[in-house]
Structures are given as structure tokens and as C-alpha cells.
């Protein structure tokens, strides 16, 4: 029923060019779905008027879940009735975003029946985004997802769907099993993931090494990034082989080492591992010759987020090195402690990173009963405004806790 597809002279311009065209995708879907058709219509108007026509989403959802659906209504419902509702469902992806054609086809079939036929593979948190359906379709979609064992992802002030790099499944540098950890954590925290009860959202992302292929340090309240404690594994011959094949080891490798801890005499590459900051560069450029050490684990960092509202943050070191082995009690204990304090004291819409800055890292560590370590800071304080917590009273020789 192609007649359902409106004229879209502006959008048609976006069918041209070498990059895959989302307009073509919507048009394909529109062949079957009036909803996709009206989406085209409304989008064409946005392209003409240079403004979006979506209203603030109301609360819609699935029975027994507090999150996972983003309600969306059109401001042009009269003109485009088929997108009067255009909610999205966030479906928890399998760790590592691996699929079989079989599994994907099942999802497609559900979405053909109950939705616009449009998706995002994936949302930038990592979920499968089923893009656009009506309120009354939410339950049916969920019922069918259940049958194929796909569950809903996070939204609102809850644990958001954790995600990870593919790690050991296809990468020689993975310092721990990112997919296993991500899956286990997701299962362990199903309630927190599905029922918003935090001051604000909380995201967990797992990368297998400091290359950080899921950008966890930039966009996860907890970033778990693989690293190693012992020496980089070096295959000396393979190094010479790289040199022989024309790599300028001095320029390309040694001079780029941020720790200035490498030496190359034309024959042997020496690494002063005690100064190596595990940046990965030398390993990245000589994958056949160098490998991370054998004593592997991860650095746990806390608090990254986008700018709203106190300014963007990168995660900062919280545990310099932890072994990542099942059962993951050390990690879940830490997560639980952090949540306890944050849920207790955090303001509404205050991310954990902002919270820690407000109360002070030192005080936060006290609250979760953790000792400070120098790895947590890039450098100690520069200002002399130290809150010394004890002082002597005249009457006593004893150092007294000031009551605070």
C-alpha cells in the first residue's frame, strides 16, 4: 500500500549518497506500517519548519515494570494520527551484541505485528530500541518478548542496561571476561534495573582493557576497565620482525609512550614496567609482539556523565586493581555500598559523580568505609584549606575527635 507514503521532497534528498539512508529504512517500513508513513510525514514537516513535533512523554509502561518504555506523543496528531502515539521500548541486548539470525528474525516478527517496524540497533546505552508503538500494544509486545526470553531494559532513575565491549569473545587484549561480568551484573540487579528507585540514573559499562571500546570512562557511573599488574609480555623476535618490516620503533612506539619508560637500541626493546601506565599504545601498534601481562584484572572508576547539570565528568579511579572472578561479590558489595549512601543522601537528579563532588571524596569514602589511596587522585590538593578533624583541648594532652 505504497499510496500510504506521503510526498517527502526534502527527505528524498537523504536517499542520495553512499552512506546507508535512514529515509530508505523508514520508507521500507512505511510500505507496511501506516505509523512509519506518518512518521515520514511529520519528519518532512520538521525538515521544512526546522523543528521537532514530539511532545513531552507521559508515563507509559508495562505491568510490573517501572521503566523500559519512553512515552512519546505527536504534537501533530490531527495531521498524522498514526503517530499520535509513538512510544519506544528498550529491550535489554545480549551482552556483546551478538545475535543469531534466528533470534533477530523473531524480534522482527514481533515488531512487524505490534510496532512501526523501525528499530535502533542499538541505542547509545546499548539496548535494542523498538522505535514507535501505541500504548495498547506495549503489553502484547512484552508478552511476545517473554516467549523468546528477551526482557526489558532500563529507563528513568534506575540502573540502566549495562553494556560491554566484546572482550574475550574476539579480542586478544581482554583482561577479564567483560561479557560474563555484564551478564551476571544485569541478572543480579534485575529489580534495580526495572524499578526506578534511585535519585537518578546509574550506568555500568565494562571494557576489557584501557582502550575502552565501550567508552565507559566517559558515560558510565561505574566504569570497569581491564588492566594488568605484572609486566607486558614481549616477544623480542616479533619486535625485531616489526622493525624489519619497516616500523620506526623509536618514533612510532618509544616516543609515544606517555610514561617515557621504553628504550630501543635497534635490537632490543626495553620496558621499565614499574613506570608503565598501561596505556596500551605499544601493544596496540605491535599486537603480534606485545601483550598485556598475565596478572590481569580491572580498574574500577566512578562517576562519568554528560554535562547536565554540573558539567560533564569522566569517571575517576575508585579501585586501582581488582581481580574479576565469579562470584563477583567484591564488585556487588561495592555497588551496594555506593547505592546505599547515594540513595540516602543524593539529591533528586544528582548523579553519583556529582554527589561525590558535593560531599567530598574523602567524606564519601568514610561513608562507605573505604580507605583513600593515592591512585584516586591525579595529584594531592594544591590549596591549604584542609579540614583537620582533630585538635587538642587545653585540659587534655590527648588528641580529641572534634564532634562533627
Amino acid at each position: 500500500m505504497a499510496d500510504n507514503i506521503p510526498k517527502t521532497p526534502k527527505l528524498d534528498e537523504l536517499e542520495k549518497g553512499a552512506w546507508p539512508s535512514f529515509v530508505k529504512e523508514i520508507k521500507m517500513a512505511a510500505k507496511r506500517s501506516p505509523m512509519a508513513g506518518d512518521l515520514l510525514g511529520q519528519l518532512e514537516q520538521s525538515y521544512t519548519e526546522k523543528i521537532g513535533y514530539w511532545k513531552h512523554g507521559g508515563i507509559v509502561g508495562v505491568m510490573g515494570y517501572g521503566g523500559g518504555v519512553i512515552g512519546r506523543y505527536s504534537a501533530l496528531a490531527d495531521k498524522f494520527p498514526n503517530v499520535s502515539h509513538f512510544h519506544t521500548m528498550r529491550v535489554n541486548q545480549p551482552a556483546g551484541w551478538y545475535y543469531t539470525s534466528d533470534a533477530l528474525r523473531k524480534i522482527c516478527n514481533i515488531w512487524e505485528k505490534h510496532g512501526s517496524g523501525l528499530t535502533n540497533m542499538h541505542g547509545s546505552t546499548g539496548d535494542i530500541i523498538l522505535l514507535g508503538t501505541r500504548t495498547e500494544e506495549l503489553e502484547p509486545v512484552f508478552n511476545e518478548l517473554q516467549k523468546i526470553n528477551f526482557d526489558i531494559g532500563g529507563s528513568g532513575s534506575d540502573l540502566r542496561t549495562p553494556s560491554c565491549c566484546l572482550g574475550m569473545s574476539r579480542c586478544e587484549w581482554a583482561c577479564y571476561d567483560t561479557m560474563k561480568l555484564t551478564h551476571e551484573l544485569t541478572m543480579h540487579y534485575q529489580d534495580e534495573l526495572h524499578r526506578p528507585a534511585f535519585p537518578y540514573k546509574f550506568k555500568i559499562k565494562c571494557s576489557g582493557c584501557p582502550n575502552d571500546c565501550v567508552a565507559s570512562i566517559a558515560r558510565a557511573d561505574m566504569s570497569i576497565i581491564g588492566t594488568w599488574r605484572d609486566d607486558i609480555q614481549v616477544d623480542k623476535d616479533a619486535v625485531r620482525e616489526y622493525a624489519a618490516r619497516g616500523m620506526d620503533i623509536q618514533k612510532d612506539v618509544v616516543n609515544n609512550c606517555p610514561a617515557k619508560c621504553m628504550e630501543w637500541d635497534g635490537k632490543v626493546l626495553n620496558i621499565a614496567n614499574e613506570y608503565c601506565v598501561r596505556c596500551m599504545h605499544c601493544i596496540n601498534v605491535m599486537p603480534k609482539a606485545l601483550r598485556p601481562g598475565k596478572d590481569r584484572g580491572a580498574t574500577i572508576l566512578i562517576g562519568s556523565k554528560a554535562p547536565i547539570i554540573e558539567g560533564a565528568l569522566l569517571s575517576s579511579v575508585f579501585k586501582p586493581f581488582v581481580k574479576i572472578e565469579a562470584p563477583y561479590d567484591e564488585i556487588t558489595d561495592l555497588v551496594d555500598k555506593i547505592w546505599d549512601v547515594w540513595c540516602e543522601e543524593g539529591k533528586n537528579r544528582e548523579r553519583v559523580g556529582e554527589f561525590i563532588q558535593r560531599v567530598g571524596l574523602g567524606n564519601f569514602l568514610d561513608a562507605i568505609e573505604m580507605d583513600p589511596v593515592p591512585e584516586m587522585v591525579s595529584h594531592p590538593r594544591e590549596n591549604p584549606y584542609v579540614f583537620y578533624e582533630e585538635y587538642y583541648e587545653e585540659d587534655d594532652g590527648e588528641e580529641e575527635e572534634e564532634e562533627s
Binding site: 552512506w19 551484541w97 542499538h122 553494556s163 547536565i308
Partner: protein
């Protein structure tokens, strides 16, 4: 409802990934030894067992119809036992064990409009967000600009002729769902006009105290306007973050006349060489000019090429600029340095140049 809840499963979580892994990965899980790029978009991972896994990465628009997903499935069935995955930048990857299947697969992918590439020193897909397709906050469209920019930069996706990786991201408003704040080049939708307040309905829709509280610069104060209890905005104090709109629909920031795009450069995420860095403001404003956003594609291309021409091998955009210094960057890029470039938020003073390390 209660019983409805009883006889219904919840919280069973995502399917276990293992059932989706091809046999070769199950067998060599954690045993990979090294990898090599065979050609643009194609790499091989070699295991300690000498098993070889070939990955073919194809561009994907991320916004996919079920029809397209089904086509992916057909190709996966045809060439690699039905196994495929998506990447953290939303490309699609096919996992092959038969080397001879690589070229036919690439041919088929090209045929359905999905070029292969993005591996190594290339530009990969642009991480992006919803824009006018689905979000109420958007100051610009997401998919449209991404399409235009990548059409223009396609050669850098298909080939690996750059000094290092270049990561582009787009977010359609300051919420930055694309987490663009650490990208080599970030495209950010912006508002430039204080909220237009729907005084008649604000009280109905929102808690006035919450609305005032939502403003990072305390620009919002309660006020009665035209008899309605509402709020007013001190315009000089507004920097258009739209946080008030997020908490209250009656604070409308979207505005065709003044919305547009800003360009940011020099961010990175990886710890390779330099520590992760935020992106910094390069171009304060470019107009929303759909459907092809020529000003934006032009600006991005010239930034990419300036870097490609001048950076040393492995130098990411931000590493290069840090070496030559921002003054040189602005001169080379021909961008006028303006008041907007100077930080004036909380930690502004720390961005001032507190040394004489200057070039002339």
C-alpha cells in the same frame, strides 16, 4: 492486576550471550593471540589454537527497518552460519570462518547499500541520537546530519589513510545522549534563545519550585504573569541548557529561528598514549539547514582534513592540537576566536593560559 502479576514472568533478564556465539568463538574464547587488518573493514583474529576468525564490518545507519535486519540475517545465513553482531558504534559485523566468503559478502553488502570499512585508522560510524525522529528535546535532527556528514566522508570510512582513529559523535541537545563530550569531533545541537514560557499552563503542568530549582544558573524565579502563577527567566543568566524544559514542558526551548549546531574537537576516550580528554568548542554556531546541512558537512570535512594533513602518525585530533597549541589550531583552521570560546562556567579560571608557553 495482582493475579495478572502472579501468572506472569518478570525480571528474567536478557538471553545469555553464549547461545549467540559462533562455535569458533566458543572454542577460542579468551584464547585469541593477535589480529591483523587484511583490508579496510576486514580483519582476522588468530587464536592460540591457530583458528582464524574473519570479521567483516559494514556501515549501518543504526535506524533500521525490520526489513533491513532480515536482509542482514539472510547474509549471515548465507556466509557465516547465521552469526552476526553489532558494535558499540552501531556498525554490523559478520563473523566468518571461510576466508573465501569475504569478498562475496562485501559485494552483497555493497549491493544493499552498506559499505564495508571503519576498522583501523579510519572514521567509523557517527554515534548519534534521536533528533526529530523521536525526541522532544532536539535542537536539530540526528540521523539527517549523520547521513550528510558520512556521505561526504565516505572515503575515510572505506579506506584507512588517516594518521589514527577519528571518532565523530552527534547529540541533538545538551543532554548529550551520544556522550559526544569526548569525541575527536562532536556535533552538538544547541538552543540560543531563553525558554518561551507557556504561562497559562505552567502551573497545571509543573511544580513551580522544581522549575526554579532546575536552573543551574538560577535564572528562573517564580512570578505571576498575566494573572497566572508562573515563572520568569532572567535572560542574561540563561545559557540555554534546557534543563528547565526537561522538568517542565511549559518551558519551551525549541525554536526554529535560533536553534542550530556547534562543533567541538579534540576529545578522546581511550587511554592510549594521552589520557582521555573532553572535546573543546571549535565553532560556536552553524545554522540548521536541512535536508543537507552543507555548512556542517563542510566544517567537519575541513577539520578532518586539517588534522589528516598535519598530525603525526597515531596522533588523535586532541593530541595533535595539544602539541601545536590552540592558537595555532585556530589560525590554521581559519576559525575566529571569540568570547564564546572562553569558558565562563564553574572552573573557568583553570582554562586560562597560566604560563608563557606560546608560539608565534
Amino acid at each position: 492486576m495482582a493475579d495478572a502479576m502472579q501468572n506472569r514472568r518478570t525480571d528474567y533478564g536478557p538471553p545469555h550471550y553464549e547461545q549467540f556465539l559462533p562455535p569458533i568463538i566458543k572454542e577460542n574464547y579468551g584464547k585469541w593471540k593477535y589480529h591483523e587488518m587484511l583490508k579496510p573493514g576486514v580483519m582476522v583474529h588468530v587464536s592460540e589454537t591457530d583458528a582464524k576468525l574473519y570479521t567483516v564490518r559494514a556501515a549501518s545507519g543504526r535506524l533500521l527497518s525490520i526489513d533491513k535486519i532480515r536482509m542482514y540475517c539472510d547474509l549471515a545465513d548465507k556466509y557465516c552460519g547465521g552469526y552476526l553482531r553489532f558494535t558499540s558504534r552501531h556498525n554490523v559485523e559478520f563473523l566468518l570462518t571461510k576466508k573465501e566468503n569475504i569478498d562475496p559478502l562485501i559485494k552483497d553488502l555493497d549491493a544493499i547499500g552498506h559499505p564495508v570499512g571503519g576498522i583501523g585508522n579510519a572514521i567509523s560510524s557517527i554515534v548519534h541520537t534521536q533528533g526529530w525522529v523521536h525526541c522532544h528535546s532536539a535542537a536539530t535532527d540526528a540521523s539527517g546530519i549523520v547521513k550528510c556528514v558520512m556521505d561526504d566522508l565516505i572515503e575515510y570510512f572505506k579506506e584507512t589513510k588517516l594518521p589514527g582513529k577519528l571518532r565523530i559523535a552527534l547529540a541533538c541537545c545538551l543532554n548529550m545522549c551520544g556522550a559526544v563530550h569526548c569525541s575527536d569531533i562532536a556535533i552538538l545541537g544547541i538552543h540560543r534563545r531563553p525558554p518561551k514560557i507557556d504561562h497559562a499552563n505552567l502551573k497545571k503542568m509543573c511544580e513551580i519550585p522544581n522549575v526554579s530549582a532546575s536552573c543551574p544558573t538560577a535564572a528562573i524565579r517564580p512570578a505571576t504573569v498575566g494573572g497566572n502563577p508562573s515563572v520568569e527567566v532572567i535572560e542574561e543568566k540563561c545559557m540555554f541548557c534546557a534543563n528547565c524544559f526537561t522538568v517542565c514542558p511549559a518551558m519551551k526551548l525549541n525554536d526554529p529561528l535560533n536553534d542550530g549546531v556547534s562543533i567541538w574537537v579534540g576529545g578522546k576516550v581511550s587511554n592510549a598514549r594521552h589520557e582521555p580528554m573532553f572535546s573543546k568548542l571549535a565553532i560556536p554556531f552553524l545554522p540548521n539547514n536541512p535536508p543537507r546541512w552543507p555548512e556542517v558537512t563542510e566544517a567537519v570535512r575541513s577539520l578532518v582534513e586539517l588534522w589528516a594533513k598535519n598530525a603525526r602518525k597515531y596522533e588523535r585530533m586532541g593530541e595533535w592540537i595539544e602539541r601545536i597549541g590552540w592558537p595555532k589550531f585556530f589560525r590554521m583552521a581559519g576559525i575566529e576566536f571569540q568570547k564564546e570560546h572562553i569558558d565562563d562556567f564553574k572552573h573557568a579560571g583553570l582554562t586560562f593560559k597560566r604560563s608563557t608557553h606560546l608560539t608565534f
